[in-house]
C-alpha cells in the first residue's frame, strides 16, 4: 500500500484545482439529461403521444444508429433515455478521459509530478487520486440524474438503472484513460488515443444496434444500454463494467510500475540534427507542430463517416413499410435517408469544429508555455505569427468535414452502387464549413482580447452541440438556438441552400479573426 501513500493529499489538491471544472461538468451533463427528460414529458404528455413517438422516431434505424437500441420508448423514461442517453454516455466518457488525463499525464509532462513525487508520495498515488475524482464525478452525475428522474415522477427502478449505466460508462473510460496516459509522454496524445477508443466504441455499438448482431456487446456503450432502463431492467451487464474497469486499472498500474516518471512506453528516438526546409517557413512550422493531431482527426472523422454512411441504405426499406415513419421523416424534409445522412454530416461537422478549436487554441498554449517569446523576439511580426498558426485550424475546418463527407459518400456510394453520391456528400459536408470557421474566429477573438478566458469557447462549443442535437427537445427558445452558427448552415442533403447565411458566417469568421489578430498586436504577451 505504500505505493498509494499520499493519495488523499493529491485527491484534495485535484478537487481544489478542478472544483469549478468538476462542478460545471456535473451540473452541465446532469442538467442536460434532466432537461431532455422534462422536454419529453411536455412534448408527449399522453400515452397516445408516446405511442406515436415510439412508432416513428423510436423505430427509425437512423435514430437507433445515433442513439442506441429503442427500449420501452413508449414510456416517458424510455423515450428520454433513447433521446439523450447515447449522447450523455459519450459526454460522460469524454469527461472521464479529460479529467484523468489532466491530473496525471499533463501534470507529469509539465514536470510538476516530479516535484510531488520527490516528497512522500507513492508511485500510484497520482493515478489513484485522478481515478477517484473521475469516479466521484461520475457517481455524482449518476446520482443527480437518477434523483432528477425520480423527481420528475418516473419509475424509481428505471431511474436508478439509468443513473448507474451513465456512471458505469464514465468509470470504464476513466480506466481507458488510465491506460492511455501510461503509453505516451504527451497528455494530448493520451487524450487522443482514449478519444479514439470512444469513437470506435460508439461506432461498434451503432453497427451492432442497427444490425441487431451481438456486436454491441463489444462496446462499453452497449453494456450500459443493455441495462434497459425503464424496460425490464437488468443489472448484470454492469458486472462487465466492473470487470473491464478492474482489468484496465490493473493494466495501468502494471504499466506505471514499469516505467520512469515522465517517460512513455516507447523511448524517444533521436531526430534530425538539421531542420527540413519546410520547417523554416512559419506555416510549415505550425503544421509540423500539429500534423499528428490533424491527421488523427481527419482519419477519425473519415472512419466515423464511413461507418454511418454504410448504414444509410437500410433506411429506405424500413421507412417504406411504416406510414408513421414516413410522416415523421417528412416533417424533417423529404427523404428519410437524406435526413439521416444530413444528421450524420452535422455531427461530423461538430467533430470537425472540436478539432479546429483545439488547433486554434494551440496559439494560447504556445503563449502560456513561453514558446512564443523567442519567436517574437525574431523579426516575425505578431500578425504573421498568429496567421501562420491559424492556417492549420482554418485548413482543418475544410479538410476534416470533407473527410467526413468523403467517408459517408464512399460508404453510401458503395452500397447504392451510385458513384454520384461521393460528390453529393462532399458538397453537403462543405456546407458546414462557414459555421466551423465562425467558431474558430471566436476562439481567435478571445485569444486576442481576453486571453485568460479562452476556455469560454469550449462552453460556446458545448452549447452548439446541445443546440444542434437536442435543442428542440429541451425546448430552448428559438433565439437561443439561432445563436449557434450551425443553426444557419443547411442540413444537406435534403434542405435547400441559401447563400446569405453562409456568406454572413464566413464574413463573421473573417471579422473575428481580424479583430483577434489586431487585439493580440496591442496587448502584452503573457
Amino acid at each position: 500500500m505504500s505505493q498509494l501513500t499520499g493519495t488523499t493529499t493529491i485527491l484534495r489538491l485535484n478537487v481544489r484545482r478542478d472544483r469549478v471544472r468538476l462542478a460545471l461538468w456535473v451540473a452541465g451533463l446532469a442538467g442536460l439529461v434532466l432537461a431532455t427528460a422534462s422536454g419529453i414529458k411536455e412534448l408527449y404528455p399522453t400515452r397516445a403521444d408516446l405511442q406515436a413517438y415510439a412508432e416513428t422516431a423510436g423505430s427509425s434505424p437512423a435514430a437507433i444508429a445515433l442513439n442506441g437500441p429503442a427500449h420501452a420508448v413508449d414510456t416517458t423514461g424510455g423515450a428520454a433515455v433513447f433521446e439523450v442517453g447515447g449522447y450523455a454516455a459519450v459526454a460522460v466518457a469524454l469527461m472521464s478521459i479529460l479529467l484523468v488525463g489532466r491530473s496525471t499525464r499533463a501534470e507529469e509532462e509539465s514536470g510538476r509530478t516530479e516535484l510531488l513525487r520527490a516528497g512522500i508520495l507513492g508511485r500510484h498515488a497520482g493515478l489513484a487520486a485522478a481515478v477517484v475524482v473521475a469516479v466521484g464525478a461520475n457517481l455524482l452525475i449518476g446520482a443527480v440524474v437518477a434523483g432528477g428522474f425520480v423527481a420528475l415522477g418516473l419509475p424509481t427502478a428505471g431511474s436508478l438503472t439509468f443513473g448507474a449505466s451513465l456512471c458505469a460508462v464514465g468509470v470504464v473510460f476513466a480506466g481507458v484513460a488510465s491506460v492511455t496516459v501510461q503509453l505516451t509522454e504527451h497528455a494530448r496524445t493520451a487524450n487522443a488515443m482514449a478519444g479514439a477508443v470512444v469513437g470506435v466504441a460508439y461506432v461498434v455499438r451503432a453497427a451492432g444496434d442497427v444490425g441487431e448482431s451481438g456486436l454491441s456487446w463489444l462496446s462499453p456503450f452497449g453494456w450500459a444500454q443493455a441495462t434497459r432502463p425503464f424496460a425490464s431492467e437488468r443489472w448484470w451487464p454492469l458486472l462487465l463494467v466492473v470487470a473491464a474497469s478492474g482489468l484496465l486499472l490493473t493494466t495501468a498500474v502494471v504499466l506505471q510500475r514499469r516505467r520512469d516518471v515522465g517517460a512513455g512506453l516507447v523511448p524517444q528516438r533521436p531526430g534530425p540534427a538539421r531542420a527540413a526546409p519546410g520547417l523554416l517557413r512559419q506555416v510549415g512550422f505550425s503544421l509540423r507542430l500539429q500534423r499528428g493531431a490533424l491527421l488523427g482527426w481527419t482519419v477519425g472523422v473519415f472512419a466515423g463517416g464511413a461507418a454511418f454512411g454504410s448504414v444509410g441504405d437500410e433506411m429506405d426499406d424500413i421507412v417504406a413499410d411504416s406510414d408513421g415513419l414516413q410522416d415523421w421523416i417528412g416533417a424533417y424534409g423529404g427523404n428519410p435517408t437524406d435526413a439521416f445522412l444530413a444528421l450524420t454530416l452535422l455531427m461530423l461537422a461538430l467533430g470537425a469544429a472540436g478539432c479546429t478549436l483545439t488547433s486554434a487554441l494551440r496559439l494560447s498554449t504556445e503563449e502560456s508555455a513561453g514558446r512564443v517569446e523567442p519567436l517574437l523576439a525574431t523579426p516575425v511580426s505578431r500578425p504573421r505569427w498568429m496567421l501562420s498558426h491559424l492556417v492549420a485550424p482554418l485548413l482543418a475546418g475544410v479538410v476534416v468535414p470533407l473527410a467526413g463527407g468523403l467517408g459517408v459518400g464512399v460508404a453510401y456510394a458503395t452500397l447504392t452502387q451510385d458513384p454520384a453520391q461521393v460528390p453529393r456528400m462532399l458538397g453537403a459536408a462543405l456546407a458546414h464549413v462557414p459555421a466551423v470557421w465562425a467558431l474558430t474566429g471566436l476562439a481567435v477573438l478571445l485569444i486576442g482580447a481576453v486571453p485568460r478566458a479562452v476556455a469560454l469557447v469550449w462552453a460556446v462549443f458545448g452549447g452548439c452541440v446541445v443546440a444542434a442535437l437536442l435543442g428542440s427537445l429541451i425546448r430552448l427558445p428559438d433565439w437561443v438556438l439561432e445563436l449557434s452558427p450551425f443553426a444557419h448552415t443547411p442540413r444537406l442533403p435534403g434542405e435547400s441552400v441559401q447563400a446569405a447565411p453562409l456568406v454572413l458566417l464566413t464574413g463573421l469568421a473573417v471579422l473575428t479573426v481580424a479583430a483577434g489578430v489586431a487585439m493580440f498586436r496591442r496587448r502584452d504577451l503573457r
Binding site: Q268, G271, R371, E373, P374, A377, T378, P379, R382
Partner: protein, 321 residues
C-alpha cells in the same frame, strides 16, 4: 558613443503588482552591460519591454533610437535573445529549433553553428522534451550566438550551465564583444557580471539604484587589506575609514574606505610590513550593500547605500546565492 538602449523612468504594473517603478537603463554601442538584481527586481520585465513583448506604462524607451513596441519587427532584425527560462517544443529536436530561430533571423551561418554545437557539447538530435534545463539553454544560446545580430539580449543565460559551459559562454560573449556587438546581460550571479561586463546597472524593486562602470562603482567602496607586520599594529583602529579590524598578534585584517586608503597604508607601513594582500571590492560586496544583506556585517554606513528599506528574507537568500 551612440546609444543602443536608452530607457528612462520605465514603469510597468501587472494588476496591483508594480514590476517596474522608474527604471533607467543606458547602454552604449559595443559595451557589455550587466543588469544586476535579485529575483523579482524587474530584470525580465525590462528585457521584455525592450523586446516589445510588453508595453511600458510609464517612461520613455528607445532601442537603436526607435520605439521597441511600435517597431518591434524591424528592431528584431538586429537582436538576438536568450530567455531566462527556455521552453522548447517537445517534438522538435534542438537542431531544428536552432535552425528555426536562426532562419527567422534571416539565415544561420552553418560553420558557426557547427562550431558552437561543438564548443557547447550539445547533441542537436535530441527532442525538446528530453533536454535538461542547461541543454535547453544551450539550444537558445547557440541560436543567438550563431546569428549576426548587433545586440545580444541574454536573460540569466548561465543559470543552468555547469562551470565548464559557463567558461565557454564567457569566451563566446567576450568574442561577441570583440566583434563590436553590444550585449545586455541580466544576472543575479555577480562573478559572471564582474567577469564580462564593462558597465553595470543595479536594479532593485523595479528601480535602478546604481549605474556605472565597475571602476566607478568600486571607488565608492572598501578595499580589504590583510597584512602581517614586525610590530603589533596598535592604533590602526583609530584611522578614519577603517572598519572591521581584526588583529591577532602581528597579523591584521581590515576593510578601508577607498578615500582613506592612503592614510591607512601609511599607518600600516609604520609597523614594518612583512606581507600584504589587498583585495579589490568584489561586486558581491557592492551588491550586498544595495540589498542590506552582507553576512553579519554592519553596512549602515556604506557609502553607496542610498536606500533604507529593510531586506526581506527573499532578497537575502538571492543575494547570497
Amino acid at each position: 558613443m551612440p546609444t543602443v538602449i536608452d530607457a528612462t523612468g520605465l514603469g510597468k504594473r501587472f494588476g496591483r503588482t508594480r514590476a517596474l517603478d522608474g527604471l533607467d537603463l543606458h547602454v552604449d554601442t559595443g559595451e557589455v552591460h550587466g543588469l544586476l538584481g535579485p529575483n523579482g527586481a524587474g530584470k525580465s520585465t525590462t528585457i521584455r519591454i525592450l523586446l516589445g513583448l510588453l508595453k511600458a506604462d510609464a517612461g520613455a524607451v528607445t532601442v537603436f533610437g526607435r520605439d521597441p513596441w511600435a517597431d518591434a519587427v524591424d528592431l528584431h532584425r538586429r537582436f538576438a535573445y536568450v530567455p531566462g527560462d527556455v521552453n522548447l517544443w517537445p517534438n522538435l529536436t534542438g537542431g531544428e529549433v536552432i535552425d528555426l530561430l536562426g532562419g527567422l533571423r534571416g539565415g544561420i551561418d552553418s560553420r558557426r553553428r557547427a562550431e558552437l554545437l561543438k564548443r557547447f557539447a550539445l547533441d542537436p538530435t535530441k527532442r525538446g522534451r528530453t533536454y535538461s534545463k542547461g541543454n535547453r539553454q544551450k539550444v537558445a544560446l547557440v541560436a543567438a550566438l550563431a546569428s549576426d545580430s548587433e545586440l545580444l539580449i541574454l536573460d540569466e543565460p548561465t543559470s543552468g550551465l555547469d562551470p565548464l559551459m559557463e567558461a565557454v559562454f564567457t569566451d563566446c560573449v567576450a568574442e561577441a564583444a570583440a566583434q563590436g556587438r553590444t550585449v545586455l546581460l541580466s544576472s543575479h550571479i555577480l562573478a559572471e557580471v564582474e567577469k564580462l561586463c564593462d558597465r553595470v546597472s543595479i536594479v532593485r524593486d523595479g528601480r535602478t539604484v546604481q549605474s556605472g562602470s565597475l571602476t566607478e562603482l568600486r571607488h565608492l567602496t572598501r578595499v580589504t587589506i590583510e597584512a602581517s607586520t614586525h610590530r603589533p599594529p596598535a592604533g590602526l583602529g583609530t584611522v578614519p575609514g577603517v572598519h572591521d579590524l581584526t588583529a591577532d598578534g602581528t597579523s591584521v585584517r581590515f576593510d578601508v574606505d577607498g578615500e582613506h586608503l592612503d592614510e591607512a597604508l601609511r599607518q600600516l607601513t609604520s609597523y614594518g610590513v612583512q606581507t600584504l594582500t589587498s583585495a579589490p571590492p568584489s561586486l558581491e560586496e557592492l551588491f550586498m550593500r544595495h540589498y542590506d544583506a552582507a553576512p553579519g556585517d554592519d553596512t549602515t554606513d556604506s557609502a553607496i547605500d542610498h536606500t533604507a528599506d529593510t531586506p526581506t528574507a527573499d532578497t537575502t537568500a538571492d543575494a547570497t546565492r
